[in-house]
């Protein structure tokens, strides 16, 4: 049993530093450790036990235990184990040992904890504000439980501007985004360019503040949250929907009916289909191959239609409730879905063949945006980016959920570590998704769609769930709570980690390769910006009123 085995390894080495352990299921491990030795333990887990870093999470547990919590999540993919290393941070000394020096991928997560909980990461070398708005006053930490969800802080300063780092000597600063023809997303890269070569960059994202996590912890209920969760992402919302439901079900030790598991699997794979088709189209658009872009969208369209027939929506399927699903896939729909898959497979084969043979495309993408194994490990890159570098990880196989343990599929990998490999990985994954859906359709048996849950869910339990989104593993963490809602819900979308690898990927590349390199991680900024802060538009002192915004748009306000 992997969980106990790893726990014993840790106990052997660190002895008393391991305070308490909890193994709710054989594939989950929660270890409370001494805050003094957390850095050492994380280093050991990351470097020697070769675990994959997942995310670091803060939580305000003061109303219950008087402490803050900081959790570092690691995955042992080969052992099918997700683990969490937790520390209690006393409220009177809000600081914790940073692990970023040992685990570079923890950079953003620790800065986020600092912003949102006011816990200072000791030893972190780059403590710049990450997620809060620029004008947000220091000292107000929105995810603390004493801050109400609709809080409007005193002293919001709309004139305060983001401080960018100094560009290196001899480099020109070329801004990239947010209003870029290819990447009209709330993300801004400040590229340091020397001649035609990119020497470095600074990323500024987190411009959108939606407060989804705070809302979930203070206003919504368990069964509201799936609907909010799927609005995190504009493409792969169902992933969050399922991941949330599964983490709650894991915390409450619920086992959902098999038919619901199959339906979840089918919808997740449908989503992967349309997401990958969209991405291949976009990648071709980025290298100026618009015909492929249009054709990919045409091929993708029936997938959207069948999704609409099943759920009533092309996207935002509103699929999950705690304990099951809401939509049935009837026999008629099953037949139709099979047709859609046949058609898709028939049309996609020649496209993949054409793409694989296209010399121009190869020339444009081979050796571009390289993220090798070491970068994948250090920056904890995920999904097709990792698999294109030959790192064989896939949450569907490594941490099976829904019905993935009952279907056969291959995890596609490549070894180029470049954009080209990512194109191929995604193009071929489409066939695997089709295969999975067909098996599900064959095997799903009649039965109830969801559990009939009468009791309150248990309080104070922790649950986590990884779902393989089209872009990589999406990880959700939940602490169940009172009032029919979780105390803490943390979403780690794949792009959150993948974006942190982009500066290394574009360094010493040509400026012209910037777009396709960034595009190759299939960035989803709305996932990354899910944001725990509070909607500041609701009345802070000098926030644009609607009228003012209108004036601004008309240009009468100079």
């Amino acid at each position: 049993m992997a969980a106990r085995e790893k726990l014993n390894l840790l106990k052997e080495r660190f002895g008393n530093a391991i305070q308490r352990a909890d193994i709710p299921a054989e594939d989950r491990l929660f270890v409370f450790v001494d805050p003094q030795s957390v850095r050492e333990i994380c280093r050991h887990v990351f470097r020697h036990l070769d675990a994959r870093y997942v995310i670091s999470i803060g939580a305000d547990d003061r109303p219950h235990s008087g402490d803050f919590l900081v959790a570092h999540h690691f995955a042992f993919d080969e052992d099918h184990l997700l683990s969490s290393i937790l520390t209690r941070i006393p409220a009177d000394e809000p600081a914790f040992d940073s692990i970023t020096d040992e685990v570079p991928a923890a950079n953003w997560a620790e800065r986020e904890i600092r912003d949102l909980y006011g816990l200072e990461p000791r030893g972190h070398r780059y403590l710049k504000r990450l997620v809060l708005p620029d004008g947000w006053p220091d000292g107000v930490h929105p995810l603390r439980k004493d801050v109400p969800f609709d809080h409007v802080p005193e002293g919001f300063d709309p004139d305060r501007e983001f401080k960018f780092d100094e560009a290196p000597e001899g480099c020109t600063v070329v801004p990239f985004g947010p209003f870029h023809p290819t990447l009209d997303e709330p993300a801004h890269f400040r590229l340091y360019v020397e001649g035609e070569m990119v020497r470095g960059c600074e990323y500024r994202g987190f411009m959108v503040h939606r407060g989804i996590e705070k809302l979930a912890e203070s206003v919504l209920t368990y069964n509201d949250i799936p609907m909010a969760a799927e609005r995190i992402c504009g493409i792969c919302g169902c992933v969050h929907n399922v991941a949330y439901a599964q983490s709650v079900e894991g915390a409450a030790a619920l086992r959902i009916p098999p038919r619901a598991e199959y339906i979840r699997t089918i919808m997740l794979e449908l989503e992967r289909l349309h997401s990958h088709l969209l991405w291949v189209g976009l990648a071709c658009h980025i290298v100026g191959f618009d015909t492929m872009f249009m054709q990919a969208f045409r091929i993708r369209e029936p997938v959207m239609w069948i999704a609409e027939k099943i759920s009533g929506n092309r996207k935002t399927y509103a699929l999950c409730v705690i304990g099951g699903v809401r939509w049935e896939i009837t026999d008629d729909l099953r037949a139709e879905l099979r047709q859609v898959l046949d058609q898709l497979e028939k049309e996609w084969r020649p496209v993949v063949a054409a793409v694989q043979k296209d010399r121009n495309l190869k020339a444009r993408t081979r050796g571009v945006g390289v993220a090798d194994r070491h970068l994948v490990k250090d920056a904890a890159l995920l999904g097709p980016v990792a698999r294109a570098a030959g790192v064989d990880i896939d949450a569907r196989r490594d941490h099976p959920y829904a019905a993935y343990d009952r279907v056969e599929f291959d995890v596609i990998t490549a070894d180029g570590a470049d954009v080209w490999s990512r194109v191929i990985v995604r193009a071929l994954e489409v066939f695997e998704s089709i295969r999975i859906i067909r098996q599900c359709l064959d095997r799903m048996e009649p039965g109830p769609l969801s559990l009939d849950i009468q009791d309150e869910l248990p309080v104070g339990r922790m649950g986590m769930s990884s779902v393989e989104a089209p872009r990589g593993e999406s990880h959700h963490f939940v602490i169940t709570g009172e009032n029919n809602r979780p105390r803490r819900w943390r979403v780690r979308a794949p792009t959150y980690q993948n974006l942190q690898g982009v500066p290394a990927m574009i360094k010493d590349q040509q400026l012209a390769d910037m777009t396709i390199s960034l595009g190759s991680i299939d960035p989803c900024f709305s996932c990354t910006d899910r944001m725990e802060t509070i909607d500041i538009r609701s009345g802070a002192k000098r926030v644009w009123s609607q009228e003012e915004l209108k004036q601004l748009a008309r240009g009468t306000r100079a």
């Binding site: 560009a167 801004p175 985004g177 947010p178 209003f179 801004h188 360019v193 020397e194 240009g555 100079a558």
Partner: protein, 129 residues
């Protein structure tokens, strides 16, 4: 001779007409174009939606100057080739000039090619570094 010069008159006419058309289009747009409101933001240079930073004349790779210089060199040499090309067959027809016509120009091409090889070896056309 004058008839050849005369041939340039239509060229001038065409040029003049092209200028008229172009200027006409520019002016017509000024006359017909809708007047919009002006604002500070509207007058800011486009830098992906951010306030512009730094000087607008970015530092360029020195390669561009190299390319410009090489262009001038090669283009002039190409121009030298044209008169030779035009009279080449006439020269070949004269037994006395036959070999001279070929050898002189092939050696010219050889020198040109040597210069070209030098530029290639020097990496003048390598953009990836």
């Amino acid at each position: 001779m004058s008839s050849q010069l005369e041939q340039f008159i239509p060229v001038l006419m065409l040029g003049a007409f092209a200028v008229i058309v172009t200027v006409g289009m520019l002016l017509l747009s000024v006359v017909l174009g809708r007047r919009g409101r002006n604002s500070r933001m509207k007058n800011i240079a486009y830098e992906c939606g951010m306030i512009p930073i730094g000087p607008s004349n970015v530092r360029l790779s020195v390669k561009f100057y190299l390319v410009a210089m090489l262009f001038i060199l090669f283009d002039i040499e190409v121009v030298f080739l044209y008169p030779w090309a035009v009279i080449y067959r006439e020269l070949l027809a004269e037994p006395a000039m036959k070999n001279v016509a070929l050898i002189s120009m092939v050696s010219f091409l050889g020198i040109l090619f040597a210069g070209y090889l030098y530029a290639v070896k020097k990496g003048a056309f390598d953009w990836k570094d």
